[in-house]
Subunit: 203 residues, 2 copies
């Protein structure tokens, strides 16, 4: 199933096709494609080129390691993520390596890196479902994460599957229309709340 964005204005096909499914095929992801995801991630920009992103990865063929990572997700996510062939945890280094001071952009820069990862995934025919619903304390314990590093999100990665494989509740969400605000609600010029002129024609 595809579910392209219904855009008010044309955008690049890789962005239009991106979407977060819960139904995945059991088919494994080719190792080269997995490597490509992280290579793509690391070429994102970051504050002072700190590259504060860290990843822990588990593939479904390694049963014990996969179960361990699955147990670091909230139950609602475990229900469907258990069928994804690849799970990834993202973590942020919360201080600058050079100075030891807090890096306020660490989480922002994880977002940039994951943005790249998702584009690479889409270009490889894969889908990514990002999850805020993770168990940070459990992740710290299970993976012996040192102080100064923070779990940020979980990612389920794989080839999109059949929504019929989901429970009724999840299937409904899988098929629901994708919605976004209008540009004039969040693109301003001159003053907060004053819609940028070019967004007016899109009302």
């Amino acid at each position: 199933m595809e579910k392209p964005a219904e855009t008010a204005f044309p955008i690049h096909e890789l962005l239009r096709q991106r979407w977060s499914p819960r139904a995945f095929r059991e088919q494994a992801v080719e190792p080269d494609k997995v490597t490509g995801l992280f290579e793509a991630a690391q070429w994102a920009a970051s504050c002072f080129n700190e590259q504060p992103w860290y990843f822990i990865v588990a593939t479904r063929d390694k049963t014990a390691a996969f179960a361990q990572m699955l147990s670091c997700l909230r139950e609602g996510n475990q229900e469907w993520a258990k069928r994804a062939p690849v799970l990834i945890l993202t973590l942020a280094h919360s201080t600058f390596t050079r100075t030891g001071q807090t890096n306020p952009h660490a989480w922002h820069d994880i977002g940039l890196a994951v943005g790249n990862l998702v584009v690479q995934a889409t270009a490889s025919g894969l889908s990514v479902h990002q999850m805020a619903g993770i168990l940070p304390d459990r992740i710290r314990e299970v993976y012996e994460v040192p102080n100064g590093y923070e779990p940020v999100t979980g990612l389920a990665v794989g080839y999109r599957g059949d929504p019929a494989s989901l429970s009724e509740d999840l299937r409904e969400r899988e098929l629901a229309k994708r919605t976004r605000k209008s540009l004039h609600d969040f693109v301003f010029s001159g003053r907060w709340g004053r819609s940028a002129p070019f967004t007016q024609s899109l009302r």
Copy 2:
């Protein structure tokens, strides 16, 4: 000047070509391309589909509005950003609209949206230079930003220009080699610090 990433592993051309220049041509950016940047940004994923991203935009042809935004950047950035045809400020809504509770993923999700914006820019022949060096208090004052919204970054957008237009110091940085960590330094499996097996071949 182009400066593609020297990757250890192939990645999509739009990610490989992305790069943050300081030299911009004076040429204006077509309004449709500017609109496309924000349309792309908004189709990023976000925690609970909160879409916590807000943007304020100024183009160089509107002299007063552009000078106002330029004054919200740190001096070191003003020096070169003054020649970019488009400046953008990004802001995050720091609480969930529905519950009023803190959204810990707000900055992360700005990163995802800007990641999309940058891909769209690259696809449009444009470059984006992201800046952490902004003046948040001045932004709040100048644009009357309400409580609960936080300035995150500034973006300079335009067509790449001639490095010769930069001061000697900036020109050196413009021409410097792009560097990244190796995958085995930040992609782990099983336990923190244990490089994922597939990263070993890339040493």
